[in-house]
């Protein structure tokens, strides 16, 4: 009998991470496409860094920061009595950090492709900045944002390297599908590991195909160019 808890935990991690990533990624991308300030390239590099860094390095840095002897970990423990390591929150945080660049990159490309003249037209007609963003920019950038959402969700779902460093292996609590696969294979349970591998492959495949179908049906102007 297959234990579904890793699948449910992975979905919980993926959805929680996605909520954070969608908001942060969209806002960061919007700010970085419209604002100019000294050191912008460095900030951009830092935001994209987790994409090119080996996930286990990201995990190591999180471990050093969040551990009981790390600056953030000690602060959380002393002030709030919270231990982050070996909890699902740590897994979510790892997924957020690792998958954030995918949302950020897609959203940035989407915002860059939005015709600024349309936004200016809305402004001349008296729309405030918030209204311009919600009724002009966001709908035009939507396909790119959706692509970023799907990619970062899929990445969160499969996050292993950073997660294994900070979340540990607690069945039913932090053992997500990738961790379950690793520990099962390590112990010689190749069949069970294979089942989880199939489940997560199927999930990822469905998402990517759905995204392809959705973008083809829409045929948005910014992709035809």
């Amino acid at each position: 009998m297959i234990d579904w808890s890793p699948v449910l935990l992975s979905l919980r991690v993926g959805l929680s991470a996605l909520a954070v990533i969608f908001v942060l990624g969209t806002l960061a991308a919007r700010a970085m496409t419209r604002r100019h300030f000294p050191g912008k390239d460095v900030v951009d590099g830092l935001l994209v860094l987790p994409l090119v860094l080996p996930p286990v390095v990201t995990g190591f840095l999180l471990l050093v920061l969040l551990g009981r002897n790390g600056p953030v970990g000690r602060f959380l423990e002393d002030v709030f009595g919270v231990r982050l390591l070996f909890t699902l929150h740590a897994a979510v945080l790892a997924a957020v950090v690792v998958a954030f660049p995918l949302m950020y990159q897609s959203a940035k490309a989407a915002f860059q492709s939005v015709d600024t003249r349309l936004e200016d037209a809305a402004r001349t007609l008296g729309a405030g900045e918030a209204r311009v963003f919600l009724t002009v920019t966001l709908p035009l950038a939507w396909p790119g944002l959706v692509a970023g959402t799907v990619l970062s969700f899929a990445r969160s779902l499969g996050e292993f390297g950073a997660t294994v460093m900070v979340a540990g292996n607690i069945p039913g609590e932090t053992t997500t599908v990738p961790l379950a696969i690793f520990f099962l294979a390590d112990a010689g349970y190749l069949r069970a590991a294979g089942i989880y591998a199939l489940v997560i492959s199927a999930l990822s495949m469905v998402m990517v195909v759905a995204l392809n179908v959705w973008t083809r049906r829409r045929r948005p102007g910014w992709m035809r160019r």
Binding site: G67, R68, N69, R83, L85, F86, G168, N169, I170, P171, F183, A185, D186, A187, G188, Y189
Partner: protein, 229 residues
Amino acid sequence: MTLTVAAAASLHEVVVELDSLYRIEHPDVAVRATFGASGALRQQIEQGAPVDVFISAADRHVDALQRAGLVDARSRRVFAGNALVLVVPSTAGANVRGFRDLGSPAVRRVAIGAAASVPAGEYAEQVLRSLGIADEVAAKAVYAQNVRQVLAYVERGEVDAGIVYRTDAQASRRVRIAAEAPPATHAPITYPLVLVARRPHPDETRAYAAFLLGPRGREVLARRGFTVP
């Protein structure tokens, strides 16, 4: 020429030290050592990893390889013995004084090796079951991939206690032994050494194994707190 030895994680320092001694006597033979949970190493050997000598922390994993005909049964010897202890971070207070304290609410997280592949975790589960606290502890267990990861979790204070071998605890200044498991509560901890079958350098492998099992091996083992057969 290169030989590869795959050894239980708890033997890390012993095997590294013996290999460097061996190199002095046999400069023509390079020994490569790989360490991990015995179950994971067995898995690698089953999948055809190029290993010449396997030293496991539990008989079970060598038994399985023997049944599959992957190791030379006649070469099997007992390399060393060990004991199981409960450790706490050296900075911790005195609220964990024995295995039974693991059931108390003051203990939030306990690190244990994943029993399927980590022998120390298997022995730990036997102890907890003999003491009748297996279920209580399972609810707060963090399962580690090998016994040294258990030790690392305790050293860093990420968990309140962990179950490791006595030799792991003795090698670390950042943990304190809270209790030793009574030998009657678990299967005897012995490290079987065996030669992997059908490997390219049988003579050199036998010579290396004989060195490990010989007086230098026993001396290093004893100095590091292992029992010697």
